[in-house]
């Protein structure tokens, strides 16, 4: 890329490369890489937040306990409202999803760090897990009646086979869109920041303008980090409601 047409050489994709932490050996499945490091840091941060926050068990919470309680009640209310009373038993899974994704996204915004959720590998695993969970829970709870979800009974009879086919296709596209939404948002945000940084590097005295743009986009990225985690979780809640909830469409 650096030896092509001259001028500005901006490579925003270099920040997404995975390289081993120790030495330059081949990437086996057990090699500690920068991605495993930041995934581990996310897990440690969440664990510390939850453990330290719930250690003082006061009825009227202090400041640290309030943080954990607010996070807990935020996800709990959302799960109960969207998934219904039956789906509230999936709350631990959804809590893990939300806190993991929001912590990974926010940690990826620290300067010099690596965003684990910018890789389709990480987000695809999360989305495929959600897909299998929803499908298996649907079949477990409703048996073959789960396929009634694709049979739109509020449409004319002639249209139902075509609609069933369209619903089936859109059901299988769900993990694809679910994973690409999260991964694409985070990757696109980081790449845009890097492109503006490339501009700022070559503009000399006028580099104040790209740096102000970077600050603005950084604020947007903070919002996107939280909103994308929230959207991932609430879409999982909606899919679970379809699988667990009412028998009519």
């Amino acid at each position: 890329m650096a030896d092509e047409a001259g001028g500005l050489v901006i490579d925003p994709m270099h920040q997404f490369q995975i390289h081993p932490l120790f030495g330059e050996g081949p990437l086996m499945w057990y090699t500690p890489t920068n991605q495993t490091l930041w995934l581990g840091i996310a897990v440690v941060v969440i664990s510390l937040l939850m453990l330290i926050g719930s250690a003082p068990r006061q009825v009227i919470p202090g400041r640290t306990q309030s943080i954990t309680e607010l996070l807990y009640s935020f996800i709990h209310d959302m799960v109960e409202e969207v998934t219904g009373h039956e789906g509230a038993k999936f709350f631990p899974y959804l809590m893990v999803l939300f806190t993991f994704i929001v912590t990974s996204n926010l940690l990826g915004l620290l300067p010099g760090s690596f965003a684990p959720t910018s890789h389709i590998a990480v987000t695809a695993v999360l989305a495929v897990m959600v897909f299998f969970t929803v499908t298996l829970v649907g079949f477990y709870k409703k048996g073959i009646g789960f396929l009634g979800m694709f049979w739109v009974s509020s449409a004319p009879l002639v249209l139902r086979p075509i609609l069933a086919l369209i619903e089936l296709i859109s059901y299988f596209v769900r993990p694809l869109s679910h994973s690409i939404r999260l991964g694409g948002n985070i990757m696109a945000g980081h790449a845009v920041i890097k492109v503006f940084a490339g501009f700022a590097g070559v503009m000399g005295i006028a580099s104040v303008v790209p740096i102000a743009a970077i600050a603005a986009i950084y604020g947007l990225e903070l919002l996107v980090a939280v909103v994308q985690a929230y959207v991932f979780t609430i879409l999982t809640c909606v899919y679970l409601r379809d699988a667990v909830g009412e028998a009519h469409h």
Binding site: A5, M13, N185
Partner: protein, 81 residues
């Protein structure tokens, strides 16, 4: 001869990346439509607005996702092909 072909492929790559970003206009329109409808509804019935915030964010995410898909194609064409 092969140098010319490589230059043509590069030109196609860059033009394709530029064309792919046209899809982001649709994302802007979609998100603006949803947010505008939410605002007009919330200004008519402010007490019912907080109950629909979840639907607002879900709608915005769906509309934005398709725009991000096209931006992803543009980035992939520029830097990963």
């Amino acid at each position: 001869m092969t140098g010319d072909l490589i230059q043509f492929a590069l030109m196609g790559k860059y033009i394709g990346a530029g064309l792919a970003t046209i899809g982001l206009g649709g994302a802007g329109i979609g998100v603006g439509t949803i947010a505008g409808n939410f605002l007009s509804g919330a200004l008519r019935n402010p007490s019912a607005a907080p109950g629909q915030m979840a639907n607002l964010f879900v709608g915005i995410a769906f509309a934005e996702a398709l725009g991000i898909f096209s931006f992803l194609i543009a980035l992939l064409l520029m830097f990963a092909v």
